[in-house]
């Protein structure tokens, strides 16, 4: 494994966007940084600006008011970047599916690398998802390539 890739995996900076969610997923994401779950011991940190981020975590139904903002934020994140959609709403609308003012999935707006299902997913599930993205889980699956991000 290249040094660069190893170094990047040791510190992953995450920016959270609440795109019209009930806050449940966002709270569990933030809870994962608190002492009980402590995702920071794995080098994962929540950052206050998209320009500092490696990974964008999106929650919620992405309603029309949030659509453009989400795209803008996505563009502000420097390459290489990855996107995780957290929660049933972000996956496909969740329980809100069919409402007149919701989208049916974050991947309809920006490219998504990983989905974490749940309503909301537990902090452990969120941490597991982030680790999976980094290829750190026991089943070494689709690890992200050296310095490249998935464009499709």
């Amino acid at each position: 494994m290249s040094f660069l890739r190893w170094a990047r995996k040791r510190s992953v900076w995450v920016y959270n966007v609440n795109a019209a969610s009930c806050n449940g997923c966002d709270i569990e994401l933030i809870a994962s940084t608190t002492p009980r779950f402590d995702v920071e011991r794995l080098g994962v940190e929540l950052v206050p600006s998209p320009r500092q981020a490696d990974v964008l975590v999106v929650t919620g139904t992405v309603n029309p008011m949030m659509r453009e903002r989400l795209k803008t934020i996505y563009e502000q994140i420097p390459e290489p970047k990855h996107v995780i959609a957290v929660g049933a709403c972000a996956l496909g609308g969740g329980v809100m599916k069919g409402c007149y003012n919701v989208g049916h999935g974050v991947d309809k707006v920006i490219p998504v690398d990983l989905f974490i299902p749940g309503c909301p997913p537990r902090p452990e599930a969120i941490i597991y998802g982030i680790m999976k993205l980094l290829g750190e889980t026991p089943e070494e699956g689709e690890a992200i390539g050296d310095g490249e991000s998935r464009k499709d």
């Binding site: 609440n18 019209a20 969610s21 009930c22 806050n23 449940g24 997923c25 966002d26 709270i27 569990e28 933030i30 809870a31 608190t34 002492p35 009980r36 206050p48 600006s49 919620g60 139904t61 309603n63 008011m65 949030m66 453009e68 903002r69 969740g94 329980v95 809100m96 069919g98 409402c99 007149y100 003012n101 919701v102 309503c119 909301p120 537990r122």
Partner: protein
């Protein structure tokens, strides 16, 4: 960017009514409600001070009231609880309590006690969550971490009883979905004692720690006159000294038998809100302990009806943030004809804009957090600087940092 054409014409509001018409802000350059990026709060500054606040909400609008008409009465419980991840049970409780008024059924006494216990556990977790956020917004990361670690105790209890931490799907029509686990009283009483101890500690902290006091005392002040005009709810209302609480004024669940002591403040500022919410946590611990001691045996629900008789009903509960109202119309079928929901934050937005007036940017995070809004809405604020003719935008995080820096500078300089 075009220059301003002069100081803002403060249309003098009669009885405090704020004039929001577009004409008032058009003179200030490319500022117009039809901006590409509509913001949650548009702040109009004269010099350093905020003179006007124009809220634009809709960021979390999903179309739930309409969706409710396509779902059955039971399915709607799962829909409504996902309006908010913090007061999820309050929603399902307000909905079921109101709906039950259209039926001839009476909720069994044991179920009413269990509803009270879960509702109070939710109040504790919500207030703790909020308190942690106050820590975060004022630069006390350690406080935030400690409080959210304490909060996990409550979430564990909720998970043991209901099966989930956040969306508990626990209330049902005529009661709750399942009974309490055996011997839960031991864990409940132990954790309530633990939380009470932590509250004692935090209360000492928020009333003596220099920066916290400086950032909250006298900040965001409202009085009873504002409360009368703008009808806020919850701790915000009670911070003015008005002792109103739906649990006492209109008892539901088991609050007629286990009566809460209503906590009020007198200064109407964010410092009062800190104390009130801490006292409410303590009071909730007492209510849970009393409820689990006195809980009667019996059913936890009746046979849940699929069809609700025709009629209109209105009802409300005291969610952690205040009065949460549901209006329901049944046409006699399996789905509602109309459900109208008025959340506590909606009732408080006007008051929040009042709270911001006269303050500087550095106070905005604390004031807005003080009202305890659903924080997904706080992502962005846009500023109109009247005398400089500038329009600019600031994100929540930058505002937070700005506030911390400003207060640090004030202390040093």
């Amino acid at each position: 960017m075009s220059e301003s054409k002069g100081p803002v014409e403060r249309t003098e509001a009669s009885a405090g009514l704020m004039q929001y018409s577009p004409e008032n802000i058009v003179p200030f350059g490319p500022v117009h409600p039809a901006l590409k990026e509509p913001e949650y709060f548009k702040l109009i500054l004269e010099g350093e001070k905020i003179v006007e606040v124009i809220p634009r909400i809709g960021y979390v609008h999903r179309g739930i009231e309409r969706a409710a008409q396509d779902r059955t009465w039971i399915q709607n419980i799962y829909l409504f609880e996902r309006i908010c991840g913090i007061c999820s049970f309050a929603h399902s409780l307000s909905y079921t309590t109101t709906l039950e008024r259209l039926t001839p059924f009476e909720v069994p006494r044991r179920a009413r006690y269990i509803r009270l216990i879960i509702a109070e556990l939710e109040r504790i977790h919500s207030h703790l969550l909020w308190l942690g956020l106050v820590g975060h917004w004022t630069g006390f990361e350690t406080l935030f971490m400690w409080i959210w670690a304490d909060r996990e105790h409550i979430l564990d209890l909720e998970e043991t009883i209901t099966g989930n931490r956040i969306h508990k799907s626990f209330a049902t029509i005529t009661g709750v979905r399942r009974d309490l686990p055996d011997n839960i009283d031991v864990a409940l009483k132990r954790e309530m004692k633990y939380i009470e101890g932590r509250v004692d500690y935090y209360e000492g902290l928020v009333t003596t720690e220099e920066t916290l006091v400086a950032r909250t005392k006298g900040v965001g002040r409202i009085n009873q006159d504002v409360a009368r005009r703008l009808c806020p709810v919850g701790p915000l209302l009670r911070s003015t000294g008005i002792a109103r609480d739906v649990r006492v004024e209109d008892p539901y669940a088991a609050y007629d038998e286990i009566v809460p002591d209503v906590k009020t403040g007198k200064d109407g500022d964010v410092a009062s809100l800190l104390v009130i919410r801490l006292e409410e946590i303590r009071e909730s611990c007492r209510l849970v302990t009393e409820a689990i001691d006195k809980i009667p045996s019996g059913n936890v629900k009746l046979t849940v009806p699929r069809v609700i008789p025709e009629g209109d009903a209105v009802g409300h509960v005291e969610a952690p943030r205040g009065e949460l109202l549901y209006f329901i119309r049944s046409g006699g079928g399996m789905k509602p004809e109309r459900v109208k929901i008025r959340t506590s934050t909606m009732a408080n937005i006007l008051t929040a804009t009042e709270m911001l007036r006269g303050h500087t940017l550095a106070d905005v995070p604390v004031v807005l957090t003080g009202m305890d809004p659903c924080f997904g809405c706080m992502d962005r604020v846009s500023i109109v600087e009247v005398d400089k003719g500038k329009l600019w935008s600031i994100g929540g995080e930058e505002l937070r940092k700005y506030g911390i820096d400003q207060y640090g500078a004030r202390r040093r300089g």
